[in-house]
Symmetry: C2
Subunit: 493 residues, 2 copies
């Protein structure tokens, strides 16, 4: 049972993804359609993501708060674009305590309305600004076609909500938090993110401007996994969020909101994992190193277990998240298979000969280019003296972290097609899921809609300068008109 | 405005509580009746509680997971006692995505049903046990009479859910986690908790046995702020949570559940705070020390701020949660008032003379018996050399933490009335809110109900041996029959 092969990525990416999520015990469907159960292996990854992000939010001056799950239905309908965007996705509580409610309550799909209605009470003067708050919460959006982590009816996220004196300060905040997301994704998730501006058609319901991070998955579809919105004064006007300015006039505040969710766990899987199972970057791996003792006789067991336990204690004391797999009911081979499937970055093997030689064997989950290459057709094995362990383990974890980022970045670059000038070529590239397609766009919603309808690709972002091609496209790849922007087309999750 | 006096505890405890919650900006009512907004000052306390508890749960072998917010209505009704307990409190989603649902969904009031239905899928053999999981989540119970933190429609909590091979293991787990709660309350919240068994009438809906922690508030009412339940096989039988035992037979698992919530924040306020505002034990204080610079001239400002910033850096680097209050728009006196109201454990004052003498003044929020006594009618002021700061600040924080615990424990002891043998005396004691009343009880639901009806006091717990009186009561204080237990009577939140 345990050693059934996973489907191959190249043959059925979607089945491969589902099997990894299930077999690595990351998440599971619940009895309520569209809602997932996040199992400890998956939740452990999310907890590490939360801890890192929370530190980054606090380092940029934000504090946490908590706002209600329920929002009066009338609040949602006050901002015209907002209600249009969210109305079809709402879960509605109509009964409470055995009675029908006078006004139905909406289960929050996002919290702009309830939060800005509270800010309106708290803010009188410019001295009360900026407000820089974040909340960690669950939200519900009614979805028909759900996939574990990627699109679920209920998901966990954080939503930052800020209020500022000026448009410029709000724009700076919007971009700062997009930058925090990008840094987090690159440094913790080893996911190279392209950042840029969303087109009007992909803008958050109620925002002036939406920016996003887009990461190329192994099937060459894009995953939008973080968004940051400059909300302008739209919500401030609706909820009366006003302040007395430095000049004494009464002004509406400028708001931003930004969020990332458990969707990132899905993105992590689709970025790094392979046909043997999950691959987890060490910085968000609940177990970074697993020790598998190997022995045959009782005498061997005694010496090997003693060595394994000592190594375990030393490594744990050094702050590494380490597990000693002392299960009696499984063979070492089955354990190797199990931990590979579950994505543990480093496996350590200790057998009687290793104890004799005072060494251990380390097998990294992904081949490290900075270490000695493996024999052809074999796994990379690193023989390490026990006296060097405390120096080597953190180094190997760092190397694995960097390696994953480099691999993902190289893959993205190899699958970024620039300077595409013919629409036929766009169609052909999209049809074979070629990756990120860089091309000119005239800025018209018509050309954007035409591509979406005919190819299912969308404009992921108008990329920031550092991602733009050296040569700026001159013409729209769809209509041939003058190009206003270089944009990235791709199918997406 | 800022210097309006708080209501006095002795005159109107309830108004005093509400004003502290609002003025210290801990929480606020939301537009949805019964739901609260937890503001950053209150949420910061909750975050520190979470971190400490989460470590304690993990140290006792538990892992975190996440289960859905929504539960099929039919699940709730499967366990007879459970549905009877929770049916009147349910919020029900009847519409989703613009359509009426075939089966309404209940917003979780607690998660036994959904969680044990999942465990039933995961457990086959005794090898899969124990399951030791916890989740941090929001829950909803429809409440008509709500009070911020103490009783709200939505609240934040953790719920631990475990499954075991034997009844004994489940009972051990139930008591272990009750012990974790007690330790946490005493060591972090400085709240002395009485632990014991709940009577049948106060048992969790669906449990075999419920244990709780009870803390005496300053108005001499009890607050139940943690419960731990041995669920027996009730839920296992309803959801088919079975396993193959070591002997090969098919058995139902034994479950426990245990939880604490944001209610603890309310308990913290009512245990320690005074007529000047909030008092926070240092270990859960988001700001442990505030530095208030004092100066008149620009020249003084320069030297004082330089010293204040240096002290700030040094203390912060030592891991103390410190804030430098450099607001220009407020006088030092207003700042003192503000931070007293907000419950910061230590205030540091630095003026020009302190800079000259290389000292600072520390004013503890609560008088420390281990430090030099204040002059009559004055606040305790400690003059500390700057060279001693790094040693003294952590020491003072520890002393304040212990002092709060000692104060609360002495108050509880002074308000515990033991060996009460006449029912008239019980009535008189309850009528004047005398505190924890220890008396004999025959074990009958009738006597229990009679006291509740006639005095509004309930049996808080059948206390564990260490809390029992030296002399065991022989007779039931109500009916005069033979006493089965010594119990604690008190009004409660």
């Amino acid at each position: 049972m345990a050693e059934d092969k996973l489907p191959k990525r190249s043959e059925d990416f979607s089945a491969w993804y589902n099997e990894i999520v299930t077999r690595a015990e990351l998440a599971e469907h619940s009895p309520v359609r569209g809602c997932m159960v996040i199992r400890p292996n998956g939740y452990g990854i999310w907890e590490l993501m939360q801890q890192a992000l929370d530190r980054m939010f606090k380092d940029t001056g934000h504090v946490n708060a908590y706002f209600p799950l329920f929002i009066p239905q009338s609040f949602i309908t006050r901002e015209a674009a907002h209600v249009e965007g969210f109305a079809p996705e709402l879960a509605v509580v109509t009964h409470g305590g055995g009675k029908e409610l006078e006004e139905p309550l909406v289960v929050r799909p996002t919290s702009e309305t309830i939060i800005y209605s509270m800010y309106a009470k708290w803010v009188q003067s410019y001295r009360d600004l900026p407000i820089l708050m974040n909340q960690w919460a669950n939200v519900v959006r009614w979805e028909m076609r759900t996939r574990l982590f990627l699109r679920t009816m209920e998901f966990l996220w954080q939503e930052g909500h800020t209020a500022h004196e000026t448009e410029q300060q709000a724009e700076e905040e919007t971009l700062r938090m997009l930058g925090v997301y990008r840094t987090f994704m690159e440094e913790y998730l080893a996911m190279p993110a392209v950042t840029g501006l969303k087109t009007d058609s992909e803008r958050f319901a109620g925002a002036l401007r939406t920016y996003s991070t887009e990461v190329l998955m192994q099937d060459n579809k894009a995953l939008q996994n973080g968004t940051s919105h400059n909300l302008g004064q739209n919500f401030a006007k609706v909820f009366g969020l006003q302040f007395q300015s430095r000049e004494g006039s009464l002004e509406y505040a400028w708001n931003t909101s930004w969020g990332v969710s458990t969707r990132m766990v899905g993105g992590l899987i689709m970025t790094h994992s392979d046909d043997n199972g999950l691959v987890t970057p060490p910085r968000v791996a609940p177990i970074q190193l697993v020790i598998v003792p190997i022995f045959k006789t009782d005498a061997e067991k005694l010496t090997v277990m003693e060595a394994a336990e000592e190594v375990f204690r030393i490594i744990k004391a050094a702050g590494v998240r380490v597990k000693l797999d002392d299960r009696d009911s499984m063979s070492p081979g089955s354990k190797f298979y199990d931990w590979e499937l579950k994505g543990v970055p480093l496996r350590m093997e200790i057998g009687p000969k290793d104890v004799e030689k005072n060494t251990v064997v380390i097998v990294p989950r992904v081949e490290l280019s900075q270490e000695e290459a493996p024999k052809p057709g074999k796994k990379q094995k690193l023989f390490i003296s026990r006296t060097e362990l405390l120096a080597r383990i953190p180094q190997l974890l760092d190397r694995l972290q960097s390696q994953l980022y480099e691999n993902a970045k190289a893959r993205r670059e190899a699958n970024s097609i620039r300077n595409v000038t013919s629409y036929d070529q766009v169609k052909e590239l999209v049809a074979r899921d070629a990756g990120f397609i860089y091309a000119g766009w005239c800025g018209s919603a018509e050309c954007e809609a035409k591509v979406k309808e005919e190819t299912k690709a969308t404009i992921r972002v108008i990329p920031f300068p550092e991602f733009q091609s050296a040569e700026k496209p001159s013409h729209c790849v769809v209509c041939g008109g003058s190009a206003k922007h270089e944009v990235i087309w791709s199918k997406a999750y």
